[in-house]
């Protein structure tokens, strides 16, 4: 078992190396890469994904998945825009948007826990449903005039630093999530559920309630990401953040979280977030379009699961050979 733990450590060490390499590549490929403004651009660009990756990490560790996060983001974004354009105060619009995110998460959680449906199928369905509802709400229109306080929050920075406000939100959330996952009772229960649902149940853990909570959390956080996204682009459109679920899942798996649950850390995920951010940024600086960038992200997703699988199989073959050699 020690081997496995050291494997995890190497995975995170690998991520650090990967991070340094990507910074190196970025710095040599583009003179703008190391500029303060580029740091701002790079960070603010990934923050919605980074924030959504936090509850996704918890969900995947507990052995489930939520593919509907980007659609929830889109839905809450247009609800926010619609309410504002209809003259409601901003605080109310944001409040309703967050509430809708929570309701969306609730529906996912209800279907997964009460009806015992696989989260994979449920959230593919709600991926389509929530995105569809976003189109129903706003059609092909967009709301793009928001109050300056709101948009300043979207693309302004904290004081004279190069840190976007969303970066601050992420930092606070990251600390909260690290505390919850790695130091709290709930976090311990999550790992137990992901490792062995039956043993968790026999230990008096209410598995359904914990999972329901996770999906609600995921929906609420996706709504928060929706608010940030809307403010950053000063635009509420039904196709906001289409396909972001891919990036979110990718950073979590690349961060070393096991797709079957039970293993992973937020340290790895945080590293992966910055690796992906730099990757996107460098590709962007090299004038490679977003659609082609997702090719790289897709590859990264497959490799982050395929890689360890292949490594493990090679390891098995090697040990078997050694055993055979030893016994003969």
């Amino acid at each position: 078992m020690k081997r496995l733990r050291s494997l995890l450590i190497t995975w995170e060490a690998l991520l650090v190396v990967l991070l340094l390499i990507s910074i190196g590549v970025g710095a040599t490929r583009s003179p703008y890469f190391l500029s303060g403004f580029n740091f701002y651009a790079l960070t603010s660009n990934i923050m919605e994904i980074a924030i959504m990756a936090l509850p996704m990490t918890l969900i995947i560790i507990a052995g489930e998945i939520d593919l509907s996060v980007a659609s929830t983001l889109g839905l809450t974004s247009v609800v926010l825009g619609l309410l504002w354009s209809r003259g409601y105060p901003m605080w109310l619009a944001i409040g309703v948007a967050l509430l809708i995110g929570i309701v969306a998460g609730c529906l996912n959680g209800f279907l997964v826990t009460k009806l015992a449906l696989p989260s994979l199928v449920v959230t593919i369905g709600t991926l389509a449903l929530y995105r569809g509802l976003a189109y129903v709400v706003l059609g092909d229109q967009a709301v793009s005039s928001f109050p300056s306080a709101f948009t300043n929050f979207g693309f302004g920075t904290i004081g004279s630093s190069e840190i976007p406000w969303s970066g601050l939100i992420f930092a606070i959330l990251l600390i909260l999530f690290v505390v919850v996952l790695h130091f709290s009772r709930l976090g311990r229960q999550l790992y137990a559920i992901g490792n062995n649902k039956e043993a968790a149940r026999f230990s008096g853990i209410n598995v359904s309630r914990v999972k329901l909570l996770l999906f609600i959390l995921s929906g609420g956080i996706a709504a928060l990401a929706g608010v940030i996204f809307t403010a950053r682009f000063s635009s509420a459109r039904p196709d906001n953040a289409v396909g972001f679920e891919l990036v979110v899942v990718t950073v979590v798996l690349l961060g070393g979280v096991n797709i079957f649950g039970g293993r992973g850390s937020l340290l790895g995920v945080a590293l992966a977030i910055f690796i992906v951010a730099i990757l996107q940024n460098v590709l962007g600086l090299l004038n490679i379009s977003g659609d082609i960038q997702s090719l790289a992200i897709g590859l990264l997703l497959i490799l982050s699961v395929l890689g360890p699988n292949v490594a493990r199989r090679i390891q098995v073959v090697i040990t078997r050979r050694r055993l055979v050699a030893g016994s003969s």
Partner: protein, 351 residues
């Protein structure tokens, strides 16, 4: 034999079986297809009362035309889902083959149409085989693998597009290619006929071939399939390869039908396809479902789309309805399964 089991006992066993629910699941699957037909007629009835022009032959042909390509892809998806997997990359595969085929015809307009069709099919087959390899050999869960390739294939398409042309227009390709979508045979559009032929071939394969039956076995109980020596990996690979092949063919037809093909062609198609398959009663956990069901599922969704159109209801409801259809179908399946299990359990307890 007769010495111990009295005819009375056999009789009572027979009776139990008739009264009992032994045939129920079979019934349920048939109920699904009949139910879909009922839903279809209900839609037709309601809509044609509101808008009589819905009820024209012309309109039905329109519906079938819009369904044909999705149905072809849904056939491939059915093969994959039967094995307890899923292929999310079909939309990207259709897009890439559509673009590549159209571009090929644009560059070499004088080639035989068949060469282009073959090119698209081979490309689809190759992409599907990659999916199959990642899932069967690489042991990557199908959802992760094909979510990844969904974006990889789409990204590839953008790479190709950025190196060639952003869009192939109808005027750039030989009319022979476009004719694939417009030709009529005996008054029926070729597109519909092609889809029908493919559905029939696939249904026949599933019904009458050894491998077809083994696909059901693999999805129904993988452990039991291993026990009797079925080569599970090989079948899963083949299902993904077939899904790719059919997506490739669908891409060729897509290019012919829409004539103008850009890098975003067929984006999001996977949701329609999965909705059709799930609504058509193919069990998302594998092991049960029919091609007829999947095709009926596609037709129901296509009719719904057409009805929205005719009733002047915003097309923006469409995607939401796909999502609702997926959720509704799995919820319904779960409830029915629970009910069946409970009745079976109750029956056992009584015995």
């Amino acid at each position: 034999m007769k010495m111990t089991t009295t005819s009375h006992e056999v009789e009572s066993a027979k009776q139990r079986n008739h009264m009992g629910l032994a045939r129920l699941p079979g019934l349920v699957s048939r109920v699904r297809e009949l139910g879909l037909l009922a839903v279809l007629f209900f839609i037709i009835l309601v809509v044609s009362v509101q808008a009589p022009r819905f009820l024209s032959i012309d309109n039905f042909v329109q519906i079938l035309l819009s369904v044909a390509i999705i149905a072809i892809v849904a056939v491939g998806e059915t093969l994959v889902v039967l094995t307890r997997n899923v292929d999310l990359s079909v939309g990207s595969m259709v897009g890439i083959t559509a673009f590549v085929t159209a571009y090929f015809f644009q560059q070499i307009p004088n080639t035989n149409i068949l060469v282009g069709i073959l090119l698209g099919c081979v490309l689809g087959l190759a992409l599907g085989s990659i999916n199959g390899l990642i899932v069967s050999l690489g042991r990557v869960p199908a959802i992760v693998a094909t979510l990844g390739t969904l974006y990889v294939y789409r990204g590839l398409l953008f790479v190709i597009g950025s190196n060639t042309t952003t869009q192939v227009n109808a005027s750039d390709v030989p009319p022979g290619y476009l004719a694939l979508a417009t030709t009529q045979i005996l008054g029926i559009p070729a597109l519909i006929l092609i889809a029908a032929v493919i559905a029939i071939i696939a249904a026949y394969f599933l019904h009458a071939s050894k491998s077809g039956r083994q696909l059901y076995a693999v999805g129904s109980n993988p452990a039991a399939a291993d026990m009797i020596g079925i080569r599970r990996n090989r079948l899963v690979f083949a299902a993904f390869a077939a899904s790719g092949l059919l997506a490739g063919l669908a891409g060729v037809l897509w290019g012919a039908r829409f004539a103008t093909v850009g890098a975003t062609a067929a984006t999001g198609l996977e949701l329609q396809v999965i909705a059709a398959v799930v609504v058509g009663g193919v069990n998302i956990f594998g092991g049960s479902g029919t091609i007829l069901g999947a095709v009926l599922g596609a037709i129901v969704l296509g009719t719904l789309q057409n009805a929205l159109n005719i009733l002047n209801i915003s097309q923006f409801w469409l995607q939401a309805s796909y999502g609702a259809a997926i959720i509704g179908a799995v919820v319904l399946d779960a409830i029915i399964t629970r009910w069946v299990q409970r009745t079976i359990l109750a029956r056992r307890k009584k015995v």
